[in-house]
């Protein structure tokens, strides 16, 4: 047994988190910033934060993750990190020549109370920011929220670029939330198929799924350009996908640039994708293409083909709120029953949404925001499931409890493909179904006695 000290009996813990279902804000800010073209994320804190975030993102995306750090030492921690940051800005523009530096804070610089805006003004006055280049930043204290909050804060900070010229650009802003580069590509493709001109931000496609050609581009071809970010202020509207990841930025654009917004669920599964496409169509005033309607029909077809293997199967889910809400809805919609659902990210609304979605399910649901994977494991021990869905850390539970696992979420450290194959939209729905079915049927093939072993399933 790997998690041999996890007992079935659940005792309440108030202070100790065991096997977290979240990490800290700055890594989310770093991932978001990588979705701007020519942007170097900068971690304003001690070296370790940047090293850890780069390592974690590298292991998940299997791509180079460039980011710099203010390299605080004890002195900087006592006297403040402004001189470190000024020095860093100068060195970064001289050596790495990015278009943009996106600074995020850490628990260290937040506790000290460093003021990013003030430091930026000073850098500007001292001529450390070359003409035509940009420095912006977000406050991302690690002791508030989670990696999801950090992602949201950095995306919100991007709205600083938005300009209102008085002339609409006829485009729709889409804020995709923390999804894979392939998902961002898919969202753009769907918008295009719907006949909608869009600005997607952030956009890590073309940044974190780059080809191997013998040439290393520190700043790859992908990413939302600064020109596009500026133009978001002239868009006809904003669709924010996921309340936790994207709503704050959309609301900020509405407040600041009077771009109306609509907050939707992330488009995982049939219904959420339907709502996304429908919203796209309405906001842009277009008719949905036959091609997209065909993809939808194919997804419905596959659901019907596989339904016998899904019906009333119990699933345990762990991940981030936006993803979990959409996934829970998808599973419920295909008659799979998510019975244990955990996120480490705080937010009472999460539990409420999940309870609404699972209201008519034939089983009782365990749901917790600010939960951890130790508790999830204990729930599974008390009420076993047929399938577990979550990040790679789930494999310890999966092995101990002998439950099939579908890897989904962040981080995935032991499998490939998430960078390239989307799970959003109708096409992504097909892939999710394929993975779920494979996990369930591989298990059936393993467990069925020889006399019941079937050629055709």
């Amino acid at each position: 047994m790997l998690l041999r000290h996890t007992p079935k009996e659940i005792t309440e813990r108030k202070a100790l988190v065991i096997n977290p279902a979240k990490t800290c804000q700055p890594i989310g800010a770093m991932y978001a910033a990588l979705g701007i073209h020519g942007c170097l994320p900068h971690s304003h804190g001690a070296q370790g934060c940047c090293a850890y975030h780069r390592s974690a993102l590298t292991r998940h995306y299997k791509e180079p993750i460039s980011a710099s750090t203010s390299s605080f030492t004890e002195g900087a921690s006592v006297f403040g990190g402004h001189s470190n940051l000024l020095q860093a800005i100068n060195n970064i523009f001289t050596v790495y020549e990015p278009e943009v530096i996106a600074i995020h804070t850490t628990c260290l610089s937040e506790t000290i109370g460093d003021d990013l805006k003030q430091i930026r003004t000073k850098a500007q006055k001292e001529g450390k920011i070359p003409a035509g280049k940009y420095v912006f930043g977000a406050s991302t204290p690690s002791y508030v929220g989670s990696h999801v909050t950090g992602f949201s804060n950095m995306v919100k900070a991007m709205t600083e670029f938005a300009e209102s010229t008085g002339k609409k650009n006829g485009k729709v802003n889409i804020i995709p939330g923390w999804v894979e580069p392939a998902d961002m590509e898919e969202i753009k493709r769907m918008a295009k198929l719907t006949g909608v001109k869009s600005i997607l931000f952030p956009d890590t496609s073309g940044v974190l799924n780059t080809p191997l050609t013998g040439e290393y581009k520190m700043f790859p071809d992908g990413g939302t350009t600064v020109a596009e970010l500026k133009s978001t202020g002239d868009s006809v509207g904003t669709l924010a996908l996921g309340e936790w990841c994207s709503a704050d930025a959309a609301i900020e654009l509405d407040k600041k640039n009077k771009v109306p917004c609509k907050v939707l669920d992330m488009p995982f599964g049939l219904k959420a994708t339907d709502r996304f496409v429908d919203a796209l169509r309405k906001i842009a005033g277009v008719t949905v293409s036959d091609e997209l309607a065909l993809e939808r029909g194919q997804l419905v077809d596959m659901i019907s083909d596989m339904h016998e293997y899904f019906y009333h199967k119990k699933v345990a889910l762990v991940g981030d709120p936006d993803q979990l809400i959409a996934m829970t809805e998808f599973l419920v919609s295909i008659d799979i029953c998510p019975v244990h659902i955990i996120t480490g990210t705080p937010g009472k609304k999460f539990e409420k949404r999940i309870r609404e979605i699972t209201r008519d399910m034939p089983f009782e649901v365990n749901v917790k925001a600010k939960g951890d994977m130790f508790l999830l494991h204990q729930w599974i021990k008390n009420d076993p499931v047929d399938l577990l869905m979550g990040n790679t850390y789930c494999k310890y539970i999966a092995r101990d409890e002998d439950v099939p696992l579908v890897r989904w979420g962040f981080p995935i450290l032991d499998r490939q493909g998430h960078q390239y194959f989307p799970t959003v939209g109708y096409k992504g729905g097909l892939r999710l179904l394929e993975k779920i079915l494979a996990a369930l049927l591989d298990r059936k093939d393993r467990d069925d006695p020889e006399i019941k072993f079937e050629l055709i399933l």
Partner: protein, 546 residues
């Protein structure tokens, strides 16, 4: 393949390469970096001076991590029966959760907290009002849930700033429990200049709170401690296999697959063998001063190095029977190693590699590459000190800067009852005259060729430049560097956590490494960088039928 090899025989002058590496920096950065880039002169113990263990310049994309990473991640990470609670916001504990590939065997006692991650998950209210109460509660909950032998606490950056007294909390809880050793590490990430400070802090606290707690005599004739071996990819398991075969009793490994009791009884061993000089030489020194256990530097990376290290241990104990047994083991193990080496040698000989890793690995692994006929054209450490480059003879000349002064230096004296010099001064002298070197490490530079580049705290920009200019066949560093190097079409091997491979230590490890490097430098994938139409773009737009 022949054309590829030919293309890489680039003529270069190390001084020009150095100048090129520095050319883009602002003048202040260039001056600083110039002192950390050394053109090796390869004179035995007279290597030119290199600057190391100094601050990384802000904004320069370093490979380094922080003090917390060195303390919790490296030293305490692979301790299996401690409940290691990280006091801080969630991230620090999350990132150090199973990411270093330390393998663990729960053994007969079955205690193993390695797959777990414990954190106090500090919130803003804890930062404002202090986190001591939450820490106390977390320790209590860990105790109630697991009843471990020991609970250790790790401070993260904000803990030091808000002034939580983690040591008093730990002391109080230890007294309260009575059967659980609770102690803490002030390993805030901002301390020191790299992971190295964290190693030192970890060593100090383990020495202060655990070493010497169990005086029970352990069975075994040739008792040693293996210091600075972290069982990444199972290295420690392979070394222990060899020890067992030789009749060597390993009392404690610092700290791969280690237990509380191993640390507690390590003072009962008769010899300390030091693998990673950088991370653990402090413990070796303290064990000698307090208990009289001498230490020697060994290296189990490379089959020849392994054989040499075993012979050193045998020589120390001096028993004919033991020496013969060690020789018999070497004789038995080497044919398989030789067979593997002969198989890969034609494909690896003459290839070049660069190593930028650790505080000792960039040195240790040169042994394996030499066995494969490969040439190291540049190497350096991420967090080493000058002695790791130039040898311990520079130690008296090292100047303590402000960053190093902040790291506690334990004052250790001979233990009144337990100090017991394992060898008399005469015996030590005789052994030294016979060539046994105690407390000796000559560093990496003397082992490297003249004109090679020795670079401290290499950064992303310099790494890319080096690869571009010198076109090595292989680059070795860590995960953060892996894919930027590979995008250049050069294979990259992680030597911190070995990608997914290992063990690479000992005899079987050498065989694994030969195969792995053979695979990397001869993989077909590196020839697919260009599509056929990119390789021959000059062809006219007509069909050519051959």
């Amino acid at each position: 393949m022949a054309t590829m090899t030919k293309k890489k025989l680039v003529q270069w002058d190390p001084a020009d390469v150095k100048a090129e590496l520095l050319s883009k920096y602002p003048p202040k950065v260039a001056r600083k970096r110039a002192k950390q880039i050394m053109i090796n002169e390869a004179l035995e113990n007279e290597t030119p001076e290199i600057t190391a263990n100094v601050r990384t310049t802000p904004g320069i994309i370093t490979m380094r991590g922080c003090t917390y990473a060195g303390c919790k991640g490296v030293i305490m990470g692979p301790t299996r029966d401690f409940v290691n609670i990280v006091h801080g916001p969630i991230g620090c504990s999350f990132y150090a959760w199973l990411t270093r590939r330390n393998q663990t065997d729960p053994g007969s006692d079955g205690e193993n907290y390695m797959p777990y991650c414990f954190s106090t998950d500090m919130q803003d209210s804890d930062i404002i009002f202090g986190g001591e109460k939450k820490l106390t509660q977390a320790i209590q909950e860990a105790y109630d849930q697991f009843h471990p032998k020991s609970i250790s606490i790790f401070a993260t950056c904000p803990v030091g700033l808000i002034g939580d007294d983690i040591h008093t909390v730990a002391k109080n809880m230890k007294e309260k429990f009575g059967d659980c050793n609770v102690f803490a590490f002030s390993c805030e990430g901002y301390k020191g200049v790299s992971q190295s400070a964290g190693h030192h802090i970890a060593n100090n606290q383990i020495f202060r709170h655990v070493v010497g707690e169990n005086n029970e005599e352990k069975p075994g004739k040739y008792k040693i401690n293996l210091l600075g071996e972290y069982n990444i990819g199972g290295d420690g398991f392979e070394i222990n296999r060899i020890f067992k075969k030789c009749g060597i009793t390993n009392i404690a490994t610092f700290s791969g697959n280690s237990t509380y009791d191993q640390f507690a009884s390590c003072h009962t061993a008769d010899l300390n063998v030091v693998m990673c000089h950088r991370s653990i030489n402090y413990v070796a020194d303290m064990l000698e001063t307090k208990y009289g256990i001498p230490w020697i530097k060994i290296n189990f990376i490379g089959s020849e190095a392994t054989a040499k290290s075993l012979r050193k241990i045998a020589e120390y104990f001096g028993d004919k029977e033991f020496i013969d047994r060690v020789e018999a083991v070497i004789t038995e193990e080497m044919p398989a190693v030789e067979a593997a080496r002969e198989e890969i040698l034609p494909r690896t000989e003459g290839k070049t590699a660069m190593l930028f890793v650790g505080g000792s690995r960039a040195h240790h692994y040169q042994e394996l590459f030499k066995e494969m006929g490969m040439k190291i054209i540049s190497a350096g450490y991420e967090f080493a000190h000058r002695d790791d480059y130039e040898g311990r003879q520079v130690l008296p000349h090292l100047k303590l800067d402000a960053d190093s002064r902040n790291i506690e230096e334990l004052k250790v004296t001979a233990d009144e009852t337990l100090y017991n010099p394992r060898k008399s001064p005469e015996e030590m002298k005789a052994m030294q005259e016979a060539g046994v070197k105690f407390k000796h490490y000559e560093g990496m530079a003397p082992d490297m060729d003249q004109g090679t580049l020795v670079i401290d705290d290499l950064n992303q920009y310099e790494a890319e430049k080096l690869v571009e200019l010198l076109k090595p066949d292989l680059f070795c560093a860590g995960i953060k560097e892996k894919y930027s190097i590979q995008k250049l079409g050069v294979p990259m091997k992680q030597l911190h956590s070995y990608d997914s491979g290992g063990p690479y230590a000992g005899f079987k490890g050498a065989i694994n490494f030969y195969h792995e490097i053979d695979r990397l430098v001869n993989s077909k994938v590196w020839s697919y960088m260009k599509a056929p139409w990119q390789e021959n773009p000059q062809l006219s737009a007509a069909y050519v039928w051959e």
